[in-house]
Each structure stands twice: as structure tokens, then as C-alpha cells.
Amino acid sequence: MEALTAHLSELGHGLVTTVELTVVTTVGAMLLGIVVATLRIAPVPLLRAIGTAYVEVFQNLPLLALLVLFVFALPTIGITFPLFTSAAIVIAVYEGAYLAEAIRAGINTVGVGQAEAARAIGLTFGQSLRHVILPQGLRAVIQPIGNICIALLMNTSLAAAVGVVELTQAANTVNLVEAQPIAVFTGAGLAYMLLALIIGQVTGLLERRLAIVR
């Protein structure tokens, strides 16, 4: 226990970084997910192909490999970002592929008649999507989106591998000093659990608030 209390400020900073990384990445991944899901249902074959390629590439590569590639390969061609930014970009791109598939599943639950009615009153493809299809499609998959966000939170710990001092890395550092892995990582684990529970609660609340009367 003392191992934790003696290092509250380091661990606290790590926790804050984890929360920041999770929030920034979730927002980015949601935007990417919506764009990619839209591409996958676009009327233009080329756009659909781009959407499919995106999902296949980023779902089928390990996140750790992507992180390492991005952080260590890009500088060799002269592109460097701060570590936090790099990690945020890579995780958002990666989770965006999963979110895109969840969102596409949601879009598929919206009856074809809704899109026809939207087009029949003169809405463009983009307007139909924004005002009719996505609001209903997203509501249908709030729960799976919440699950992906929790997985995203857990995946932020991989940022430790490329030098971002988030909660896992902070715990690691503290453990190197204190050599008390059980206490330190139990503490960190409980913090992750608490964050995941919060995401779950928010998900449940959104689901109840936004339910479509049927």
C-alpha cells in the first residue's frame, strides 16, 4: 500500500494521461468510424472499396506493431510527432476501423424505407445520412460502441511501449523503484476498472436517454 501512496503524484499523472489519451482517441476514432462507415455504404464503388480497404488493413494488424511502426519508421522519412500525438493518432486510426464496423451494423438496422422517404423529400445523400440514417443507426449500436471504447481504454496501455507515460508506464516505473508489483499493478488495475465502469455507465445512460420509441 505504501508503494502506492508514496508515488501518488506519478501515478496520478499517468492516470490523467490515460484519461486524456482515451478521450482524444475516442473522439478521433468516432469521427473516423462515421466517415469510414459512410464510405462503406456510399453509392460510389471506389469509395466503398476505400472504406473496405481501411477496415481490412487496420483491423488485421496488431496495434502494437502499428504503434512501433508509426513511432520508429516515420522519423526515418523525416516525419516526427510528439509521442502522445503519435500514440493518439495510431490508436484512433486502429479503433476507428472497429467503430466503423459497429456503426455500419447500426446503419444496416435502419430500414430501407427510411432512406427512401428521406430521398423522396429531396434530401441529398449527405443530408439523409446526417438527419435520418445516422441518428437512428448510431442509437441502435450504443452498447457495442461502448464496448469498443472500453477496449480502446485498455489499448491505451500499449502507448507505454513507445514511451508515453500513461498509467501502465507510470506503474511500471514505480514498480522499478519499489519492487512491489502486486500492490502497484493491482492499484493501476483498479483505476482502469473504475474508468471502464464509468464508460459503461455513460453508455447505459445514453442508451436509455436516446432510445427510439417503438
Partner: protein, 253 residues
């Protein structure tokens, strides 16, 4: 209302040489149809005769294989903004209502006017309320579609179509999904629209509506327009064997 300078018989919808295939299935064969401004045309025929497909070709929810469709003298554009603009002028009422499930009845009606016509929200709401008043469900404005009966939903859908101030209204079997006791409340709205001079193309099995409100009945069978005439003539003395056969099947009860 002052007479149109272009004449009362200005064609509002004009279909020429329309052919449509679903894969190998030839569902519309050489359709020619002209509907004048203010005319009410009822399309009848057996299931699978192509009535609904014809209706859906008129605002390009289905694309025709061959032939042309003109709305108020303008050929239907290909996909894109121009098509969206033209669709705004062509109202459509669906068999399954297709009200937007996540929006209130009022928001269903104001969506088109605010987003497509760029009418200010307060004005759009006012017009929507007037339309709901007219179709008799003003008290349901703040309800969601699922809280309404089928008949009320269809009347809301008609109000949604009317809110765009369309040049022509298409009805694709508007009463087929309704419980029998709700059919008349929808038909009454349609009859009053017809009486006010709305150009209407109505695919329906309601022969009573055809008699009451149609200027012309078009009978389709096997993808073709087989017969077309005034309702009294059509029902009293159909000229073709197929129309006689069809009428004998639906009118014997």
C-alpha cells in the same frame, strides 16, 4: 385561382417509352403515360403488374432501363443534387408510411422544408401545424410515429409530403398496410386533396377511391398499360378481357 398561362392541360408528368428490368425480369414494358396538371390518375392492376415500380420510377427511387420521365417539362436528372431538387417537387406517400422513427411528427414534417427549402424553423413549424390540423392530427404533433395508429401515421406522412408544396403527389398503395377501419380516414384526406386540384398518381386497390376521386383509371397487367379511361367507363364496361377478369375477381364480394 387564375388559369395557368401555359394552359390547364399542361402535362405535369410525362412518361415515354419506359422499360425496366429487374435482372432478367422485364417489369415495365413500353410505358407511355401523361398526367396533366390537376389530374388524378389511379393505377390499378394485379400484384406484380408493375404499378408500384412505375410509381417509384417517377421520382427515380427506381431507375428506368430505357425511356424518359419528365416532371413539369423537366427530365429527371441522374443521381446528385439536381435529382434531390426535383424530388423535393414530387411528394411520395409509401405503403409502410416510412415516418422517421427518431423524430416527432412535427419534426418529421419540418425536416424537408427547413433542410431542403431553407425555410426558417418557426415558419416551418407554423406551416406543419396547419397541415396537421388539416389532416386531423394536430394533437399528435409532439408524439413519435410509433405512438400513432396506422391511419394517423399515414396522415402524418401525407402532411410531410404536402409540406414540400409538391407539384405532384405519388401514392404507392397508401392504404394497403392499414387496418380496415383506418382506411377511410386516409382516403378522405386524399379525396379532399384531389378536390383541391392536386396532381395525383395513386397506386391502390381501393376501387371506391378510384370511383370517387379519379379523373382517369389506368389498368396495368404484366408490365404494360392495358387500358386507360374514365372511372365510370372502366368499371362499367372494361374494354379488355384482362381488365374484366381483374374486376370480376376484386369486385365480386
Amino acid at each position: 385561382m387564375a388559369p395557368e398561362t401555359t394552359g390547364a392541360n399542361r402535362p405535369m408528368v410525362s412518361v415515354r417509352g419506359l422499360n425496366k428490368w429487374f435482372g432478367p425480369l422485364h417489369v415495365l414494358k413500353d410505358i407511355d403515360l401523361t398526367v396533366a396538371a390537376g389530374e388524378v390518375v389511379v393505377v390499378v392492376g394485379p400484384s406484380g403488374s408493375g404499378k408500384s415500380t412505375l410509381c417509384r420510377c417517377l421520382n427515380r427511387l427506381e431507375t428506368a432501363g430505357q425511356g424518359s420521365v419528365e416532371i413539369d417539362g423537366e427530365p429527371l436528372p441522374a443521381e446528385g443534387r439536381a435529382l434531390a431538387r426535383l424530388r423535393a417537387d414530387v411528394g411520395m406517400v409509401f405503403q409502410s408510411f416510412n415516418l422517421f422513427g427518431h423524430k416527432t411528427v412535427l419534426d418529421n414534417i419540418t425536416l424537408g422544408p427547413t433542410r431542403v427549402r431553407r425555410i426558417a424553423r418557426p415558419e416551418a413549424r407554423q406551416q406543419a401545424m396547419a397541415l396537421l390540423e388539416r389532416v386531423g392530427i394536430a394533437d399528435k404533433a409532439d408524439h413519435h410515429p410509433a405512438q400513432l395508429s396506422g391511419g394517423q401515421q399515414q396522415r402524418a406522412a401525407i402532411a410531410r409530403a404536402l409540406a414540400m408544396q409538391p407539384k405532384v403527389l405519388l401514392f404507392d398503395e397508401p392504404t394497403s398496410a392499414l387496418d380496415p377501419e383506418m382506411v377511410n380516414e386516409v382516403l378522405d384526406v386524399m379525396v379532399s386533396l384531389a378536390a383541391e386540384g392536386m396532381t395525383m398518381i395513386v397506386v391502390t386497390h381501393e376501387m371506391g377511391f378510384a370511383r370517387r376521386a379519379a379523373d382517369r383509371v389506368v389498368f396495368m397487367d404484366d408490365g404494360r398499360i392495358v387500358e386507360s379511361g374514365a372511372p365510370d367507363d372502366f368499371f362499367a364496361a372494361p374494354r379488355t378481357e384482362r381488365a374484366r377478369d381483374f374486376l370480376s375477381k376484386i369486385l365480386q364480394h
